[in-house]
Each structure stands twice: as C-alpha cells, then as structure tokens.
C-alpha cells in the first residue's frame, strides 16, 4: 500500500481551553492555558511502602503506562515533584518522614492517597499504624481498594488532573488554604 493511502489518525495531545479563535490567533484565559499545561505534565513522587506500591509499578509499566497521562517522569526529589502519591501502610514512625517530604515539595502540590492503608489505616487498626495520612498532611484524592487495581490508580490520577486543570491561580494564596495547612501545623 502506498504511503499516501495509509489511514492517518489525528492525534489530539490535549484539549484546547475555551477561547476566541481565528486564523493565526487564539485568545483565552491564561489560567486555562496554565491549567492545561500543568494537567498534562504532572511529575509524581511515589512514596510506596507496601503492596499498593507493587500495583503502582504495574501502573507505570507498559501495559497501563501512566506516561500516557503526562506523568512519564517520576520525581524522586520532593523539590521537583507536583504530586505526592502515598501508596501503602504508613506507620506512626514513618509519619514525620512523610510530613517532611510533603513540606519539602514546592507549591502547587497535590496529594493522592492510594489504598485503604494510606487512606484510613486499613486493616491495621493497631498501635503502630497511622490511621490515615490525612492526620498529618492534607489529601486531595483518595483511591479505595486493598490494593486498588492499576485502573483505579489511573482514575485517581485523572481526578487529580481535573483538580489541577480547574485550580484557580489564587487558591494557594487564599486564607482558606493557609488555614487548611495551619490545621496540620505546616507553614
């Protein structure tokens, strides 16, 4: 078959924000444009402590491939990460370390709590396990499951993407946000 006859699929990288469009120009809100860019280039920091971390490995691998959502590049330094993905049981002794990692992240930052243990302590209702990471850091999206399947983790990441896209420029400076962080004792 000749090359010209090959059926080509038109690939859409990201959805265009609302705006006025004409030949050679596009006028829209800067907020929308930044939202679109951020949404499709989230750098996650995987904080994996147990079996949910194994599911995350599957999520990153070729079959599910988180890279399709713009998160190909994992950041193992909190300073460069946008999204903290907490996957697995967090013991009380690990708590301060997790909080430190969160504090080291630059704004804007989001947190995804993957699995029953990270979200609520799960089956480990006991003296050594933190009963949900939202006791020490604010969480944006919770993914249920024990452990959740890669599809569910992807769904969680897509929910985070929605939040990232819609987030207002002023949110991180707002009094409500400062109050939220203040509740966790974070400046």
């Amino acid at each position: 078959m000749a090359l010209t006859e090959t059926k080509r699929t038109k690939l859409e990288m990201a959805e265009k924000p609302d705006g006025l469009e004409g030949p050679g120009f596009f006028a829209g809100k800067l907020e929308d444009l930044v939202g679109m860019a951020r949404k499709n280039s989230i750098w996650p920091l995987p904080f994996a402590t147990s079996c949910c971390g194994i599911e995350f490995m599957a999520t990153m691998a070729s079959h599910y491939d988180l890279g399709r959502f713009g998160s190909e590049r994992l950041s193992f330094s909190p300073r460069q990460a946008d999204l903290l993905m907490v996957m697995g049981t967090i013991s009380k002794k690990m708590g301060p370390i997790l909080k430190q990692v969160y504090i080291q992240m630059a704004e804007p930052r989001w947190v995804l709590s993957v699995g029953a243990c990270a979200s609520s302590g799960g089956i480990f209702d006991t003296y050594s396990v933190l009963q949900g990471i939202d006791r020490i850091i604010p969480v944006d999206v919770y993914v249920p499951g024990c452990p959740p399947r890669p599809e569910q983790i992807l769904e969680g990441v897509m929910k985070i993407q929605e939040l990232v896209e819609k987030e207002s420029f002023r949110r991180r400076q707002s009094a409500e946000y400062k109050e939220l962080l203040g509740k966790y004792g974070i400046e």
Partner: protein
Amino acid sequence: MLKHTSKPADEKTKALCDATFAKLQAAFGSAIEKAEVEYDFPEITVSRDKIFEILKFLKEDKEQDYHFLTTMCGLHYPENKGHEFGLMYQLHNMPQNRRIRIKTFFPASDLEMPTVIPLWDSANWMERQEFDFFGIRFKGHPNLKRILNMEDIDFFPMRKDFALEDPTRDDKDDSMFGR
C-alpha cells in the same frame, strides 16, 4: 484460660527434657521449678534470681552446649497474680540439633531482669525489644531504649491491658462490626 491440647511428646524429647532438668537441679537446686514438653519442645521454668547463672551454665557446660540464643520473648498473664510477667529464652545446640526453652516469671511490681549480653551479644536488640513492648527493664543493659516503636510513646503495646484497636480512631461504627 484456653488450654491447648498438645500431642503426646515423643520419647527422645521427653528423655532430653528430663535429663536436662535433672542436670540443672543438681547444679541449682530449688531454683529450677518445673519441666514439661510442650509441642515437642522441652520447656524448663526457673526462678529469676538464678536466671543468668542457669543460662551461663547451659551455654558453657560442655555437655549442654546451648551456644546460640535463637530468640527471647516477653510474656504477660495478668490473671497469674504475683507472676504476671515473664520472659522466655529459646536456646539452640547446633552440633547436636537440640533446642530448649527457658521460662521465668516475676511480679508486675518488679520488672527487672539481669541482662544476658555478656553471654550473647545478640541479646542487646532482643532486650531492647522486650523493653519496648512489655516495659521489662534489663539491669546492666548499655543502651536500654525503644527499638521499634516511636520514642515518645508512653505505653507498652504488647501488654494485655493495652487496647488492641487504636483509641484515636472515631470513624468505626460498632454496629458494622456486630458489637
């Protein structure tokens, strides 16, 4: 208290248990309290006052030669008044593949044990763990502080009077758990 039903001990283990008991009694007299075979495991209960000497004897006597401390574990039976707490040492004689368990009990009001670090260096962390979970203090331990739990907790989680479930959790609806 639930009493388990262990199968009858095999002859060899029973003979070993009795022989060790007799040997220890010859050396330490009334400090050796009782001997029994539980789950094919010889178990000898001794008094706390002589525990160090007894373990030293079991380790250094050429015939006994229990040279390896496999593990150590705290015990808590609140219903045994006057002997609420205990400690279990599990020893191994590798050349002859013989194992033995030494138990000792003491009251809740006096949780002090001699350290066995001079016999086995590996006892260092084991004793820290028993301090961490049961609050048993080891006299002579060079670094007796918590090893696994948070340093700032003020309870000993393996004691029977410590609630199993986390008391800070408020989202559990009792009706969901049939209680």
